[in-house]
Symmetry: C2
Subunit: 333 residues, 2 copies
Amino acid sequence: MIQTPYLLFLGDAPDGLAAKVAQGIRDWRPENCVGQYRMEGCNADLGLPEMDLVQAREAGAKTLVIGVANRGGVISQAWKKVLVTALEEGFDLASGLHNLLRDEPDLAAVAEATGRALHDVRVPEVDYPIANGEKRRGKRVLPVGTDCSVGKMYTGLALDQAMRKQGMKSTFRPTGQTGILITGDGVPLDAVVADFMAGAVEWLTPDNDPDHWDIIEGQGSLYHVSFSGVTLALIHGGQPDALILCHEPTRKHMRGLPGYGLPSLEALRDMALPLAQVANPDCQVVGVSINTQHMGAAEAEAYCAEVEGRLGLPTVDPFRHGAGRLAEALAAL
Amino acid sequence: MIQTPYLLFLGDAPDGLAAKVAQGIRDWRPENCVGQYRMEGCNADLGLPEMDLVQAREAGAKTLVIGVANRGGVISQAWKKVLVTALEEGFDLASGLHNLLRDEPDLAAVAEATGRALHDVRVPEVDYPIANGEKRRGKRVLPVGTDCSVGKMYTGLALDQAMRKQGMKSTFRPTGQTGILITGDGVPLDAVVADFMAGAVEWLTPDNDPDHWDIIEGQGSLYHVSFSGVTLALIHGGQPDALILCHEPTRKHMRGLPGYGLPSLEALRDMALPLAQVANPDCQVVGVSINTQHMGAAEAEAYCAEVEGRLGLPTVDPFRHGAGRLAEALAAL
């Protein structure tokens, strides 16, 4: 569990895209962000108050979160100076980078000496159990995609927002590093050992109030041969009551797999639902989320309307339309 | 890769069942076994020549394989004496036990000093790649089960034997610790990190002769919510040309999951085949393997005949009938 609120470290991000992790935290959990820390040459700007470490401490920040993708896979010496000082000033550090904070001897030494925590959110820190398949109280919804990276996390976060707005009880349950940094907690599922994947998802989504919804962050796709096992562990460990189908209509082939075409939404529905019903016989497909970022407004509207007619399910782009109709579909279950 | 041939260590096995790993090696790779080593109180007997360490070395044994399940999860002091002496006599050690050889300081120290290898086959020793889904040359068959522990490994090993007998080219590809000890090589799939499961299976079953068959050891079941993700990684990483359905008809519920009934063979077929065709559109279900160990001979015959009529597929218990008909079905593909 990462201590909030955060000071968001943007480093020397060459552009806004390089700081997309920080942008995600800023967009979805603004209450977790007291300010931003930018170094010379930083071209990203989240519109948060600019703070140095002392100011951020005074404003209550507990963790410095590396919200920027680094270049070349190394933590630069320029960053190091800030990170070491942050530890000395009493901040924990959190990072989703491939190169781990804990593997940097200077950071590890200062963290040890100051008693501060280094959170590498790509690395599981819990001994997860083997899944027992027992029915849990409360409700769960899982977005499943025709492919990887079609907007499952965005759909889940937008749904969480819409459900709260409608007065529903919901918790977003991250299963990847960006989601974990956004909420401060979760399971880095792709780094969990095979036998414990489904158990980790059960652990993440425990018994809850009967009217509470866990929104489980999806991963991979049943149709993506590199990562489909992770997806099925989410379906069986999460025992969802509801699935939301996610799709990006302009994708020419499966991400990273040039020889593999995308399945239709119908094929995804017919594959995912029987698998989900193994763990939860009452599971239903309740809606469709379309990522229309590569379409014009009119084209996007027409596409969603066409899918809605074809599948008979509420179909939205949560970015363009909000996720209110998906939340209503869950409320109606 | 574990050096063969082996001396099989039966320790103080209280009965034959406790030595079932050794029995598996003896049954399926007798050419890998020069003899057995039994301690006082051992009630297991594989019918192999009794040897001490010196005799076994002279007979050419390279590795002492712990073929017995230990009690209480610890490597006893009585065993230790033999294991340390074996390292000093020039043997490598191999084990599938939960408590690792490498975690025993005395064994680790002697192995280091003598330059011998400690093979803990539950632990992956390769950095597996992420699966790329590319079509590989050669053919692959995968047994898939209605449940865990219904005889998938046995089916694969019997099929390997039958295929060789029929002059076909085949290799059994282990994905669990017993299989790895039997052949000396493989992937401990349940211990692989989620993102690399399918890649590990691709690594295990590389390009081969067009008429060569890899027989991939199955794990878990698409219907077993604790381990289904591992099963799907096998299906997608293995890109099998053929599936064999495996079933144990007397099972009352899924293994370890009292609330879960077993699926029908038809349901398994209809779930597994479309998933397999994502990775290999030409995949077919070619046969059924029934584990009839809890049935009388007449009942077993009748059951297999009934399934064969119902599914229209060659149906055998490889233990009672051999796997010849399954091999023929593969040859006919």
